[in-house]
């Protein structure tokens, strides 16, 4: 079975061979702090953005970002080199995000809070491009968060982070076919959500 998927819309983010090589050299010297430093410089922003998409709240995303790299540091000596360091880092970040999302969901059920949605866009009210762009972004993020954490994770890895299914399979420890089906089922849900909010394009 082919696992390529449709062409990715923009330049997919891939691991950087120079960074990976530098970090691996540091690992070979058992210099884990240098390896950590290299990884934080190269992939920190990417991991943060992934956490933001997964968690929506910037503070929680920052916490998870830091925990991800602390945990990565503790695991560097055991890094088995079965995947790139980038995919390995995203694997850790993914687990942290899913755990956090689970805790957050439980907490929200307990306090019964309701996240506010941006108002549906009125067709009669013209908006500046920048404002519209921000609103659309907020709605898309909100719609992403209507998906369950695992489905959101697959969509974010695929279309926000630009991972091919082969690498997603390593990160998620699931078969490419499972992830493909998950993404294909999620896209109509996203589209309906955008339509409900008046943002179908």
């Amino acid at each position: 079975m082919r696992v390529a998927g449709p062409p990715l819309p923009a330049t997919p983010r891939r691991e950087r061979p120079d960074v990976e090589a530098e970090a691996i050299l540091a690992l070979d010297r058992a210099d884990y702090r240098s390896a950590l430093s290299v990884l934080m410089r190269a992939y920190g922003t990417e991991v943060y953005r992934y956490c933001r998409r997964m968690l929506s709240d910037p503070e929680r995303a920052q916490d998870v970002l830091q925990n991800t790299f602390v945990q990565a540091y503790e695991g560097l000596s055991r890094f088995a080199r079965r995947s790139s360091l980038r995919a390995w880092l995203f694997g850790i970040a993914r687990h942290r995000c899913l755990d956090d999302a689970k805790l957050w969901r439980r907490w929200r059920l307990r306090v019964d809070s309701v996240e506010t949605l941006p108002e549906p866009r009125s067709p009669e009210r013209p908006a500046e491009d920048g404002v519209l762009e921000r609103q659309w972004r907020a709605v898309l993020e909100r719609c992403l968060h209507e998906l369950t954490a695992r489905v959101r994770d697959a969509v974010v890895l695929r279309y926000v982070e630009g991972y091919p299914y082969t690498e997603m399979s390593l990160i998620c420890n699931e078969r490419p076919a499972t992830l493909q089906a998950r993404v294909a089922r999620a896209l109509p849900l996203l589209r309906r959500c955008l339509e409900r909010s008046g943002f179908a394009r």
């Binding site: 079975m1 082919r2 696992v3 390529a4 998927g5 449709p6 990715l8 819309p9 923009a10 983010r13 702090r33 950590l36 430093s37 934080m40 410089r41 920190g44 922003t45 943060y48 953005r49 933001r52 998409r53 995303a61 920052q62 970002l65 830091q66 790299f69 602390v70 945990q71 540091y73 503790e74 695991g75 055991r78 088995a80 687990h95 942290r96 899913l98 755990d99 689970k102 659309w136 898309l140 993020e141 969509v155 279309y159 926000v160 982070e161 630009g162 299914y165 420890n173 076919a177 493909q180 089906a181 993404v183 294909a184 896209l187 109509p188 996203l190 589209r191 955008l194 179908a200 394009r201």
Partner: protein, 278 residues
């Protein structure tokens, strides 16, 4: 007339699978429109990835956290390990003294005390009951053979008593254990000279979270296979040791199925107790 939904029902999955679309999708206006809408949606999602930066001090915070943890670990080793050694010596001395006194009291004068009642020479430990299994799960502070945590949690499983105790055939033994997020699970298994040995850990029966043979994260040394796993998610963890003279079957995805497949292939299996991480 009902609008055509074939693109959502079939086309999206085919595209994700990298397969060609059939000619219907080029001719059906609703499907063409849907195809264009999803292409836009995918493009727009990609734009979400740009523009946000983590706070400037996050790297310093990570290093500070790493430093704090390492300091705590050093303190733990310096304080606890000598204390544990001292406590073990004292315990051994007390128990040894008591056993010796009892033996001398019951032995007729002129006859040496029986060998069986003496503590094992050089062990410094009281006699323990025979080992029950070959797979021991412990906390991380025990990797260096520090007996404190091991004695406290599983008194019947001492690493030097596990040799050659491999139970043949499938066997399930269930007990309970508790751990917390952030703990590490250390697995030790006596595998002898078995040509194919594998350790696996499952979370909630259906997620394989560790699988290794003699390469990282496992270590195989002198007939013992060791692995270490960070318990980073809540759930029920359970270790499985597989031994065979033939290659072991690939995991199928759940503890029950893997257990059955390996048993059918003639592997020796041992399932450890359940560890609940809350």
């Amino acid at each position: 007339m009902t609008p055509c939904r074939r693109f959502e029902q079939e086309g999206l999955l085919r595209l994700e699978q990298g397969l060609a679309l059939d000619p219907h999708f080029d001719t059906c206006p609703e499907c063409r429109e849907a195809q264009a809408a999803y292409a836009r949606l995918r493009n727009e999602m990609n734009r979400l990835a740009s523009g946000e930066e983590p706070p400037p001090d996050w790297r310093a915070n990570v290093f500070a956290s790493v430093e704090r943890k390492e300091r705590a670990r050093r303190v733990w080793r310096w304080v606890v390990t000598p204390s544990a050694a001292a406590a073990s010596l004292m315990l051994a001395a007390v128990v040894g003294h008591q056993l010796l006194s009892k033996e001398q009291a019951s032995t007729p004068p002129g006859r040496p005390p029986s060998k069986a009642a003496s503590p094992r020479p050089g062990s410094g430990r009281p006699s323990l009951p025979p080992p029950e299994d070959t797979l021991g799960m412990t906390r991380p502070d025990m990797f260096d053979d520090a007996p404190l945590g091991a004695e406290a949690r599983r008194p019947a499983v001492a690493p030097d008593r596990l040799l050659s105790e491999i139970l043949p055939g499938p066997r399930i033994r269930r007990g309970t254990g508790e751990a917390q997020l952030g703990d590490r699970l250390i697995l030790r298994a006596q595998v002898g000279e078995s040509p194919f040995a594998e350790l696996r850990v499952y979370r909630d029966d259906h997620r394989l979270v560790l699988r290794c043979t003699d390469k990282a994260p496992c270590r195989r040394e002198g007939g013992e296979l060791r692995a270490e796993l960070a318990l980073e998610s809540t759930g029920r963890y359970q270790g499985l040791l597989l031994l065979s003279s033939l290659p072991l079957p690939e995991p199928l995805g759940s503890l029950d199925r893997d257990f059955g497949a390996a048993a059918a292939a003639g592997a020796q299996l041992e399932l450890d107790r359940e560890i609940h991480v809350r």
